[in-house]
Amino acid sequence: MADMKTAAYICKGCELGTRLDAAALVKTATKEGKMHLVREHDFLCSAEGVAMIQNDIDNEGVTHAAICACSRRAKTEAFNFPTTAISRGNLREGVIWVRPDTDEARETTQEMAEDYVRMACAEVKAMTQPKGNPNTGGVKTLLVVGGGISGMTAALEAARAGYKVVLVEKTGALGGWTAKLHKRIPTREPFKSPEDNGIADLIAQIEADANIKVYLNATLAKTAGAPGRFKVDIAVESGPTATEDVGAIVQATGFTPYDMNKLPHLGGGQANVVDQAGLEALARAANGGPIKRADGKEVKSVVFVQCAGQRDTTGEHLQYCSGHCCNTSIKQAMYFKDGNPDIDTVVLYTDLRTPGNGEDFYRSAQNKGVIFSKGAVSRVESAGGGCKVKFKDLILNEETEAEADLVVLATGMVPTSGPDLDALAEATRVAEGGDEAAKEQVIQLRSKSVLNLEYRQGPDIPQFKHGFNDSHFICFPYETRRTAIYAAGPVRRPMDTAQAVEDATGAAMKAIQAMENAGLGRAAHPRAGDLSFPTARLEGCTQCKRCTVECPFGAIDEDERRFPLFNESRCRRCGTCMGACPVRVISFENYSVNTVGAQIKAVDIPDEFSEKPRILILACENDAYPALDMAAMNRYEYSAFVRAIPVRCLGSVNTIWITDALNSGFDGVMLMGCKHGEEYQCHFVKGSELGRYRMSKVYDTLKGMNLEEQRLMDLEVAITDIETLPQRINDYAAKIVEMGMSPFKGL
């Protein structure tokens, strides 16, 4: 850039001035960093220090500033200069707080600091300040799919916050399963009796709200576009297809009860055996009077079988607990007891779990005379005019049986979450080979789709465990793996109505946030507010498709010439595309192959007789880098040989950085990223996994360079590894010393 004016600021606060030779740092920034303007300050983050920088920006025309003070995670509010490209030299958490204050350590500590100054200067010169693209789509209408209690709650919450809502319901009426409940589990004090299901009131509120447009008997035929500019085709039964522009989507498509016909041993299919939904129907039919069976007989005794086809270890039925069924059975037992205390109600359970205030509800049921027996049911047979339930009493350790007019099975929830994307992708792959059965399977799987997204990753949001549309964002439970599309209610995980209401409210808030961010060209979680976005230098692109395939969020399509086409508002700015690109044409304004590459090249490498090895750390900014910072805050010391560079995700690490580092004389490279696989902790879902996969290829390069494999070290780091991380760094540094210096020094 022609009119780039660079400046470096050296802070002397927080003991930096006494621990380090500030004059030498100024010299480094001037001579080696080649900054136009270099200043030191006793307390840079003070109002005065900030004013000094602001003055340079305003009056000296500084466009790029390297602030050499504390970690980039600290003092972000003070060092906030929106129009200026800023890099941070981490002298506090990265140097003085991890080094002992001793005479013998002084020299290596100073070297460390000088390197971080060099790196900050080099980085900022490779950056430009992102301006954000405000033209990515500014639609602020929320689409809610599903008109049950979750969907209605999400719609109402968004409408109350002032947003327009389109609510699409598959059936002819709002209400979902909750509307089918005779009563629901109590949601307020004193939690002693079932309460009204509250649906009539919710429907009335929806109908009265001018912000909410309801489509009944409707499904989504197609969802195209991206956050802030989705275009959805809504297929309405016996009517023309409607088209709506929406900014974000809440999927609240709920569940179906597990089919009790799959449980013949528990009486599924027998006349006097119902599931919990079946009992609700009987209770509604009785309308407060005595509950009668299908054959019209009044029920005098009832046995509830908990965990029917749930928590199954054989793999045949549901493997999980649906969470609500214990409270539901308690509620249903009360339907009987409240009407007539002489009706025998027995709940057979293996573990009674009553989340929330369910404990009070449970106690109330005991008070009302509901009998709870710890027993594992093996068979339900019809006998006489009713059923015989055979079970093992787990307290008395004996096989026994109970008789009842009616048996109720707690069968659990199966999410309405669309097809499994992996299965669909596999079937599609086989079908492309001409396999007829696979083609049939593709059609069948596609017909299950809820959202019909026009995303290359498939028509719905990915499933996590047991087919639920969850995301396993451990710290951020509402996040999903498709930007601005949020799952809420039992489609996300099994839950009761009270939890669904809470879940839907959260999802609506997240959706609003996503729409607002999309309108401003900002990223969503976890780089919320980030204005940078990836661009590709298409002249260099080889159309290899790696970026489009690897993007964890389906943000990159291909244009007709098979070049990458970025759907910027779907993008979470992880940089996985940048790490993937073999010809390195993808970059962000403030994060690119160059910004990191320049830092690596800026490090001063002592010669091989110095006994001072250099180890590069590429640390994930979400977990590993904060862990390093926190280790520093706790004053855990680690080796002065390391130079740490934060990366957005391990997935953004381009292998060129590793080969460049080793070529320029680094003795070792440590990669610090989040856990991947089934229990992943990566904030970008697949980033750390893809990053690691790529790194496994680097070992061949190492071999080609005649370097030991151990020169590259891959560490799985969680944000909690504060105490162990310094030790692991020191161990690695010791190993490098033992291995000897890299032969690539000074080449």
Binding site: Q366, F372, S373, I395, L396
Partner: protein
């Protein structure tokens, strides 16, 4: 006595939980047990062989209608009244009291295990103490020592003779009690009338025939 047993069994139509709720002191708490087993884990007797069933099992058996097994069980007679379970029960069940209530009810029905030492002591103590309103220590000790025969009684007496002499010297034991002297309540008739009234009230409350 077995009359009463049959009567009660008939009255509650084999709904033993209801029977316990109506007839056993603190029996209405049995339904509130949530089978966590903290009582069993807290019991200092550590379930030596006398304890057939820990409290939560007894409660489960009541709910399962195991009338015979519960009432004839020696378990509740083994309770030492330390109140550990009572204090620890997360559902605040008065377990100690329920154990005593069950034991007492089983005794009233005449189905409690015969020759159960705790029961023998309880019976002896009660009869002894209600006779005059004060415990006749010498007679109480005699009855207990000589329960297993003359020789066993003498042996036990000799083993404890130092304690006894100490008590006598400290005027805590009056040997004349052996002959019917010693401390008594002033209004013995009043005591007996009071106890009779209590029994009458209990019988009324629990719907039993007055003794």
């Amino acid at each position: 006595m077995s009359d009463m047993n049959q009567q009660m069994a008939a009255r509650y139509k084999n709904n033993f939980l209801k029977e316990v709720e109506a007839q056993v002191e603190m029996g209405e708490w049995v339904k509130m047990c949530m089978q966590c087993g903290v009582c069993a884990g807290s019991c200092p007797t550590n379930f030596h062989p006398g304890w057939e069933h820990p409290p939560q099992e007894i409660f489960m058996m009541i709910r399962a209608g195991k009338r015979e097994e519960v009432l004839t069980s020696p378990s509740m007679w083994m309770c030492t009244s330390c109140y550990n379970c009572y204090v620890r029960c997360p559902r605040k069940l008065p377990i100690t009291h329920i154990m005593h209530g069950l034991a007492e009810y089983a005794y009233q029905l005449g189905v409690a295990p015969k020759f159960q030492p705790t029961q023998h002591l309880s019976k002896t103590f009660w009869d002894n103490c209600t006779k005059t309103g004060r415990v006749n220590e010498v007679k109480l000790t005699q009855t207990l020592y000589f329960r297993d025969g003359l020789m066993a009684g003498i042996k036990q007496g000799l083993a404890m003779k130092d304690v006894a002499l100490g008590l006598v010297k400290a005027k805590r034991l009056n040997l004349m009690e052996a002959l019917g002297f010693g401390h008594k309540c002033k209004d013995i008739k009043g005591i007996h009338a009071m106890l009779a009234k209590a029994r009458e009230l209990e019988a009324k409350r629990k719907g039993r025939q007055p003794a």
